[in-house]
Amino acid sequence: MTAISPKEYMTVSAARLLRNEDVCFVGIGAPSAACNLARLTHAPEITLIYESGTIATTPDRLPLSIGDGDLHDTALTTVSVPEMFQYWLQGGRISIGFLGAAQLDRRGNLNTTVIGDYDAPKVRLPGGGGAPEIATQAREIFITAEQSKRTFVDKIDFLTSLGHGQFGESRGTFGVHTKGPTRLVTDLAIWDMLDPEGRKVCDPDFQAQTAEFVVVSLHPGVTRDDVVGSVGWTVRFAPHLEVTPTPTPLELETLRALHARSANSQ
């Protein structure tokens, strides 16, 4: 078996965050691979939902788009898009929203709208899609993205999807009472949303106004400098830094087979 790539660490580590009983609203790309890997390994009964309306879908290959035919053909049921956003997402039926981003900050706020000024953009990105309401209505948010100074920025150019707002704010500032971003999984590390006392979002004493993503685990072979060098803000590391467990052979084989099937069918 060839060496484990950073991206494989990312996908496997992200997959491990998911539990069998989760109902997961899945974004395309890295989130989709992680969610399906979880389903094909330790969480066979996880419910995967795509915003195209497919509920409890079990695709054999990764979809290229959010609405590939496989997603419908292997779903328990397919609902209309208005119903998906009204009854299922806003209805509070989603336990985990899994999001990526073109830009993110240390508070878990995401930008998928523009680089530069909105009215005269340097790069016009696709926009929010489902993310603004996934970010506020799923009960908890996991983020996954490859680290780079272009993506991990001190200040995002546009706030598309709310994390914990600016320092000094909280989600409650905006009338939002779901947990928001709790975990960030990258190609280099695993980050937790922690306040200065090291408390997690689920802790009743969690101080949202001062919380930020903190590195809690480095993938094997990754140094603190690697992390610092690919992030546009001053990185905080947890006092007891873990080493991310190596993917098991089963995880790795399953992921590679999934990617192989997906490539063949496209």
């Binding site: 195209s52 979809p63 035919g69 956003f85 929010g128 899609g129 603004p132 309401e133």
Partner: protein, 283 residues
């Protein structure tokens, strides 16, 4: 009541400069053939409404048919950005494109409100996002029971909605299988609805094995029906043909250069005699 017509007649009779048009289909059943006929007929000044503009609006924007786009996710799904939309927004080529940008939740609720003949849609959304700063059509109402502030956007009421469906019967009733998206809402919200179909059958009521996720639109809700096999390609039609994922990836290359894009439109859309592009697929 429904008229069965050719696609060119349906577009000529119902689509004109300056209208608001929704061509819907969430990844699935995107009405490419109809969009190509709109391009061939040289319609201009359109307000294009669609949750996911996709390649279909990249093409319409690229030829300069639109003055405004109402949308919530303008990517090439699975492949990246929409280069023609970017060029219009970033450089005003071939003309400037006004954007009215929403979230999916807002658009879905706005179509729902349009179908329900309401002036606006009320939902819990847009909290904490900068979108409220750049779109004046995002307002709010206060719940009179709880005093909660809820988001409110105008209902979508297109002049014309165009969709593609698997089949219609001779009474004009239309059936959609698979991912149904917002097509029912888009049709019921519109003043005029054009439906292209893969197949015309005798009577939908008599079909065996109607699928659990079938959507049916009665004939009296549809203005014109056109028999256009492969009318959704390179998108797909569940039960007929799969998504042409290779073309979606290739589109990034075609669309990233203005000349290459125009050559593609010339060869694959304009050079085709009316409706002929349809018979051999949209590419």
């Amino acid at each position: 009541m429904t008229r069965f017509t050719t696609l060119s007649d349906a577009i000529r009779d119902n689509v004109s400069n300056g209208q608001s048009i929704a061509m819907e289909g969430f990844t699935h059943l995107i009405p490419f053939a109809a969009a190509h006929e709109v391009i061939r007929q040289g319609v201009e000044g359109l307000t294009l409404i669609r949750m996911t503009p996709d390649i279909i609006y990249d093409q319409l924007v690229g030829v300069g048919a639109a003055r405004k786009m109402v949308f919530s996710y303008a990517g090439n799904p699975g492949a990246g950005l929409l280069h023609r939309v970017r060029d219009a927004v970033e450089n005003g080529w071939p003309r400037a494109l006004e954007l009215e940008e929403h979230s999916h939740a807002a658009m879905a609720n706005a179509y729902h409100a349009g179908a329900a003949n309401l002036p606006s849609a009320v939902f819990r959304g847009y909290r904490g996002t900068d979108l409220t700063n750049v779109n004046r059509n995002i307002k709010s109402v206060i719940c009179p029971f709880t005093n909660e502030k809820l988001a409110c956007v105008p209902a979508i009421r297109p002049d014309v909605t165009i969709i593609h469906a698997q089949r219609a019967d001779r009474n004009g009733n239309v059936q959609i299988d698979g991912i149904v998206g917002v097509q029912k809402e888009a049709v019921l919200a519109a003043n005029v609805a054009i439906v292209t179909v893969e197949e015309i059958v005798d009577d939908l009521r008599a079909l065996p094995n109607r699928n659990a996720n079938t959507c049916i639109l009665p004939g009296w809700c549809v203005t014109a029906i056109c028999h256009v096999p492969m009318g959704a390609a390179p998108s797909y039609a569940t039960g007929y043909y799969p998504r042409d994922n290779d073309f979606y990836l290739e589109w990034s290359r075609i669309s990233s250069d203005r000349d290459r894009f125009l050559a593609w439109i010339e060869e694959h859309v304009l050079a085709h005699p009316v409706d002929a592009s349809v018979q051999e697929g949209a590419r």
